[in-house]
């Protein structure tokens, strides 16, 4: 009898475990949409997990990622639905990313996908068609059964301006992190609603809708997003009275109305000059390109005897003096102005180096961006809507950013400087690697950036075992409410030109080194050390010091974008 009872209890316990049901995250359309320009509202709902007895399993943290197709949807707003005053809420957005799910788990196994995301370094990859939203809701009061967590509103975009032939692939959840108050995970699967929007009948845009798009590495590399850009449209040849203006959406698209068919217009695109990342646009990599040009080329503005790869680089590196179209060229004046900029020295000259608060925009039709005409790079602002053509693509770059890290690298073959015109015979060109322009190539580098609390000071060290580096730059941000910079110690070698630009009011310091002769290299070991004095009591230093730009230049001119373990 005892054995039977034991068996019965064991079975009961087993059933108890397996009798639980997962929580559910459900997302569905609130309204019906039928045409381009309609507003689609999507709600995210939560259904509780149940234990084997059917009792609710309450959560205290509700966090999930979803992604939407930014070529077909333009996010315009989001609204939290719970009204609890004790709740903490946060929303994050990343434009240009798509989730790579764990293929060994069901797509609807949301807690399984969360565990995968947490431990994976490749779960998100860049993808210009998709944007990711992260929703985080935390409360001591548990949400009720079927509670609506948040609603999002999107505008339906014209599929004619995308590579999609229908609206079936619009939005999906990636993972869910549902946690009980004791920090244990709750299993989560997809809710029962099917996200069928019946959009098969959506038609293309009205004849009056003209689509513009802007391309830049700011968008592609997720430095910012398309909404950082704005456009102003004029009648062709007029730069005084604008016809219309507006902003691009997060993916860099805009729909313009009020234009006439078969009329030519000029559009000028600007980037929001207050964006902080613009302080990272001009770096030691740009400086290396300009110095090389000043040393080995630059005797002519027309691409003859040049070290550049594109004609447009002459325009972007001409940061002081006479403009290229008016006969200027790239000289040591430009390179030393750029070095002074990195050193934080205020020039008495009028310079055109883009930074936060001061941007020099270059924009034009994407397909001909930087094309050579009479030996000089050109950009065209002109477009003409017709009955058959209402979609136009533009590109954007900024002066000073010679390696296009924050701009669009030309793709037109007419924008390339032929090898025969490059200064192959010059010392500089011979030492420069082919394709010494901006490269997406990154290098795993033996570099260790750490902060430590030592003897009452916060020591930030940059340890490097990277060989053959003629230049390096690190843009550091520190918590100025807790730290004061006390000292910067360089140990880069005797012949390097070191720079440190401390912007105290913003808690920023840019440090680095460069050898303008491309000969000396940054010493390995601990070339840079920052010493901070805490102004509040600290137990440790996590998060107090962050690094924004970590890049180097090799003797052959190639850029090293450090990836650290």
């Amino acid at each position: 009898m005892k054995k039977i009872l034991l068996l019965f209890v064991s079975v009961l316990c087993t059933l108890n475990v397996f009798g639980q049901t997962d929580a559910k995250l459900d997302y569905s359309a609130v309204n019906t949409v039928t045409k381009v320009g309609d507003t689609l509202e999507v709600k995210f709902q939560y259904f509780k997990a149940k234990d084997a007895n059917g009792a609710d399993i309450d959560a205290s943290l509700y966090q999930f990622d979803f992604q939407y197709n930014s070529k077909l949807l333009n996010k315009i707003s989001s609204t939290w639905q719970p009204t609890s005053t004790s709740a903490q809420k946060a929303l994050n957005s990343w434009n240009g990313y798509k989730y790579n799910p764990d293929s060994n788990k069901d797509l609807d196994d949301y807690d399984g996908q969360y565990a995968y995301w947490l431990g994976s370094s490749t779960s998100y990859s860049t993808n210009s068609d998709w944007s990711v939203e992260r929703v985080t809701y935390q409360d001591v009061t548990a949400l009720g059964e079927g509670a609506e967590i948040i609603k999002y509103k999107f505008i339906i975009k014209d599929k004619a301006n995308s590579n999609y032939s229908n609206y079936t692939n619009l939005l999906n959840a990636n993972w869910v992190n549902l946690t009980k108050s004791d920090n244990t995970q709750i299993g989560v699967t997809k809710g029962t609603s099917s996200f069928n929007l019946s959009l098969s009948n959506i038609q293309g845009g009205d004849a009056g809708n003209v689509s513009l798009s802007v391309s830049s590495n700011v968008i592609t590399d997720n430095i910012g997003d398309g909404s950082d850009f704005s456009y102003t449209i004029y009648a062709k040849g007029d730069t005084q009275t604008s016809i219309t203006s507006g902003n691009f959406d997060a993916s860099g698209d805009a729909t313009v109305t009020g234009l006439e068919n078969d009329v030519e217009y000029d559009v000028y695109i600007s980037i929001d000059s207050e964006k902080e990342y613009l302080d990272n646009a001009v770096t030691v990599s740009d400086l290396a390109l300009v110095f090389a040009e000043a040393i080995g080329g630059g005797s002519s503005p027309n691409g003859i005897s040049t070290t550049f790869d594109y004609y447009l680089q002459s325009i972007l590196s001409n940061v002081v003096g006479t403009s290229i179209p008016d006969g200027g060229d790239i000289s040591f004046d430009d390179s030393y102005e750029m070095l002074a900029h990195l050193q934080g020295v205020t020039s008495t000259n009028t310079t055109f180096i883009s930074k936060t608060g001061e941007v020099y925009n270059v924009s034009g039709v994407k397909s001909t961006f930087g094309d050579e005409v009479n030996g000089i790079a050109t950009v065209s602002p002109t477009f003409k809507p017709t009955d058959n053509d209402k979609s136009f693509q533009f590109a954007h770059a900024i002066v000073g950013d010679v390696n296009f890290s924050h701009g669009f690298e030309p793709t037109s073959t007419n924008a390339d400087i032929p090898a025969s015109q490059q200064a192959n015979s010059s010392v500089a060109r011979m030492s420069m690697a082919a394709g010494s322009k901006f490269s997406q190539t990154s290098e795993e580098a033996n570099l260790d950036l750490t902060s430590e609390l030592k003897d009452g000071q916060v020591i930030f060290t940059i340890g490097s075992e990277v060989q053959e580096m003629v230049g390096a730059q690190f843009n550091i941000v520190y918590d100025r409410t807790r730290l004061v910079l006390d000292d910067v110690i360089f140990d880069t070698g005797n012949t390097m030109t070191n720079f440190s630009n401390h912007i105290e009011e913003n808690g920023k310091i840019n440090i680095g080194s460069f050898d303008q002769n491309f000969e000396a290299t940054v010493k390995t070991g601990t070339p840079y050390k920052l010493i901070f004095v805490p102004i509040v009591e600290l137990q440790n230093t996590s998060g107090l010091i962050t690094f924004k730009v970590n890049e180097g230049v090799k003797a052959d001119g190639t850029q090293i974008k450090f990836i650290m373990e």
Binding site: Q88, A90, L118, R134, N183, Q539, S542
Partner: protein
Amino acid sequence: MKKVLLLLSVFLLIGCMDDDIISPIDDIVEVPESLEIADIQGLKVESTIVSDEVRMNIKLPYTGTYRVKIRDISKNLISQEKLDAKEGDNILKVYVSSLENNGYTLELTDDNHDIIGIASIVVNN
């Protein structure tokens, strides 16, 4: 009188003892319930949504040198602390004032970069 002398001697002996011997309580870390970690090692933050600063517990298998890393959406390293910590619970802080509002991954590793614990935080300054 003998009793008084004996009592005085006991007080004298206690007074001469090493503080560590009489106050082992110094090494006991009081771990708030919100930061308790059941496993022998791991990382836990007091709140996922963070403004200004948040407490964290790093529970370690051995006394030694460890690293606390902060990574962005692409898992790029953007901040790293190196610290000496002791076996067991260590209640520390993550300061987020200089971080942009965004989602980050917090990572605890040993000095050889082997991961001990991971947590997600959302900065909402």
